[in-house]
Subunit: 496 residues, 2 copies
């Protein structure tokens, strides 16, 4: 009991430091003036050290160890909390401090090295840093779990319970059942809406439409807000303060619209978590994959549905009468679901997107097994691109250099993007047993969808694992066939 | 040397906590969602306690005491720092903890009691709280300086070096030389611009004009930004991050315009302080009065000048062609300098404003001496209002209940508002010996004014006292005659 008391006391302090550091991050990403960052880094350094001292302090370690030794006597929630705390702790304290410091510096420098390399299409200037990051990442994974495949350790870090075995199965199904279908669609897909899609849209009016979407999704304005930033993201400190951003590109209105709906998915998840977890290890969404399943559900299953544009095109046309002249809901539906083989992941459509992830998973797999050397990555990338999507990047900037993740040491992260979409499809088929989604969208009653997701997923925060969520919501284990089924149904109807 | 090292080390930590608490405050006042404040208070409570523990910790007290004992051996800057630190410390540690806690709660509760009382015009529901606050304030002042007049202690807290003796002289001059002049002007002043002033102005366009003013004042956008809030204010953590707000009232465009110029005065001061003081006790502007002198200078001396509107009315008319039809620079000049006896301080014009402050000083004086009982305040207020401005409030909401300051324990604060305007006038007469202000405004070269103020005032931060500043800038002690002279010159030209 005393150990639990101590654990709670220190955890609450950790939360308070996390709270302010997080708010500083929000400010940095949305409005802080350019020259404020020097002073800011200095001040944040001091508080980060205070936080680190708390997180790795003797008292905290002792409390967690004591609780961990008595795991069997704890209630379920506390048991899960202690396991999580122990895992987080072991990940930090098993790394020698000098290596951690060296790694942190490497990550910071590589951010800039990568930016330059991408700008100059110069993979050679970047590859040595990447090699060092890979080496560190492997080493750290082995410090934590010496007997585990390091890639399995990394995969679990981004999605609890997932291993190479399961991802191999998942991507195996996509390779077998989805890739041929995508190739078929790519042959018949054509874009009749170029002019409409890339017309000029006043950013202020775009903002007005995104603001309208807040009410469509029934996002609670008393517990959140929308702002703009260079890269859209969702931010939260508690369910009572959830914020998200979008961005406004003059010549690509869909960017703001679908970024907003996507982030509204993340944000609704965070808003609907029970506040009882605020002071525990179980606050926030349970995993990257489950989080992405929610954002993709709102973005693709709702936002890119025919029913959605039958309901909301009028508002869109009211704001953009010139650009949308003659456009029908069906035109809009086609335009927002246009399929095209493209080189850059973040611009990919819903159907080709998982192939971009599959490629990255294949490469990470080979990097971690040592099968692919750093020298070979660009070629390997381009070959796989050709194999899956039939196009070949002309530059490494459009190929192996395009994403920031590896420069940040995030190996094992990418697969969660595809997994999220696949979860989303499986959840969708469970949902439509209870709800008539089309009617709900047409009646502008998304609060019913929110409520369903809240009761089945959101309210639990991190108190359930991703696997428990999927099992409890859908009645079965994760099954990739739903994802393939969903994509084939939707895109056959549009294109075949 | 070791004491200085320790002092610097802890001070830097204190700065880091201050930094994040301050950023949270900025967020609270500009965008935090309504329901975020519960969790926020809890998290801030934890960090405030950490900060308080640092500020009153044995190590810090020991370091300061050691340095204070060796004051004569320290260099000038460190000497001033140690004196300030010692003063701040003594103010806190001499108050018994239970009294401080009780007082803090009282202040929090009274905020709400005052809001309700003002809304319901119910002074009786508020007066007991006010009495308690007055009692605490006196008691705390006596803990700090048992042999000093408590009001002198309070006055010094808001404006270093100022006492009742000096303020009596100051307001005595205003009473003798300014009040008769104001009465004369009030007799002849009439408002020919009602329709123009209170016409409807699109808030978005108002924002555009305020944004334009940022460039007029040559405020550095890389080290600051403008946002909106309910009550305009300036905020900063270092000269590299200075932000200010304004507000947009549809039917009173001057509110946003002059709040923006006013805050730009505060903000320019903060931006131009030397960054060498960042980690010291001497960061930030030196006093309330000097700060207010800068904001009033930009707002009134620059922003309400004829030259200013000869230069910028075109831009204003471009944004508001309908509302400004036929308006000349001279009309604008008259409209923004319209004089009228009014009941509410924050809506008062430049000429009658100091009379509102004089009234509050008279009352605070009598409260602190015990001459005025809490029962008598409303009547006293109304009598003085009639005496100075010839009008009498019909409700206490428009009288004694109008300001928030006393509810927050801020007795001794008001006089700095008038003092700031008076400083501003004295500085103005010094400035025009060096600069042709009219020509500078007409040439849109306010960087020259900024530079002059930077070299004479801003760059020193708090390393000089207000009295040193005034002496060094103007070559003489503070002299209220300049203020009277400035007002009589300006308003005679307009009205007589």
């Amino acid at each position: 009991m005393q150990a639990e008391h101590k654990f709670r006391e220190i955890l609450k302090k950790i939360k308070a430091y996390g709270y302010v550091l997080s708010l500083v991050g929000w400010d940095s990403n949305t409005e802080a003036p350019r020259e404020s960052f020097g002073r800011r880094a200095e001040m944040m350094g001091i508080l980060s050290r205070e936080l680190f001292a708390l997180q790795t302090g003797k008292e905290y370690i002792k409390a967690i160890d004591e609780l961990f030794e008595n795991l069997d006597n704890l209630n379920d929630q506390l048991k899960r909390e202690v396991k999580k705390a122990k895992k987080e702790l072991d990940k930090i304290i098993n790394i020698p401090e000098n290596e951690y410091v060296e790694y942190s510096k490497l990550i910071q420098i590589t951010q800039i090295v990568w930016e330059d390399a991408k700008k100059n299409n110069d993979y050679n200037a970047y590859k040595e840093n990447l090699q060092k990051i890979i080496d560190f990442t492997k080493k750290f994974a082995l410090y934590y779990a010496p007997n585990n495949d390091p890639y399995d350790t990394l995969l679990d870090e981004y999605e609890e319970g997932m291993t190479t075995k399961e991802y191999d199965d998942f991507f195996g199904i996509l390779k077998k059942d989805l890739v041929p279908f995508v190739k078929k669609i790519l042959k018949v897909s054509k874009n009749d809406y170029d002019k409409f899609i890339n017309d000029s849209y006043d950013p202020k009016k775009q903002e007005e439409f995104c603001d309208y979407l807040i009410d469509v999704v029934k996002f609670d304005r008393n517990r959140g807000l929308m702002k703009k930033s260079v890269h859209p993201f969702t931010w939260n400190t508690s369910p009572e303060d959830v914020r998200f951003t979008t961005r406004y590109l003059k010549n690509y209105v869909f960017s703001s619209v679908f970024a907003a709906i996507h982030e509204l998915g993340h944000a609704t998840y965070e808003q609907q978590i029970s506040t009882e977890f605020d002071d525990t290890m179980l606050s926030g969404g349970t995993s990257m994959g489950i989080h992405e399943s929610q954002s993709r559900f709102y973005e693709n299953t709702i936002g890119r549905s025919l029913a959605f544009w039958e309901t909301h095109l009028d508002k869109f046309k009211e704001l953009f009468p010139e650009q949308t002249k003659g456009i029908t809901p069906k035109d809009m539906y086609r335009a927002v679901n246009h399929v095209e083989a493209s080189l850059v992941r973040v611009e990919a459509d819903e159907l080709t997107y998982p192939l971009h992830i599959m490629l990255r998973y294949d490469i990470e797999r080979k990097i971690m097994s040592g099968e692919a050397t750093i020298e070979k990555l660009p070629e390997l990338w381009n070959d796989l691109m050709e194999q899956y999507l039939g196009i070949r990047p002309e530059t490494d900037s459009d190929g192996v250099l395009q994403d920031v993740h590896w420069s940040g040491g995030m190996l094992g992260y990418f697969p969660t993007y595809a997994l999220g979409s696949a979860y989303s499809a499986q959840i969708y088929y469970a949902m439509i047993k209870d709800l008539d989604l089309d009617v709900i969208i047409k009646n502008n009653e998304l609060e019913k969808v929110n409520e369903w997701l809240k009761e089945k997923i959101h309210k639990y925060g991190s108190s359930k694992t991703p696997k428990e969520i999927i099992k409890d919501v859908t009645g079965e284990e994760f099954n990739a066939k739903y994802y393939v089924k969903y994509l084939i149904e939707k895109y056959s109807k549009i294109y075949l």
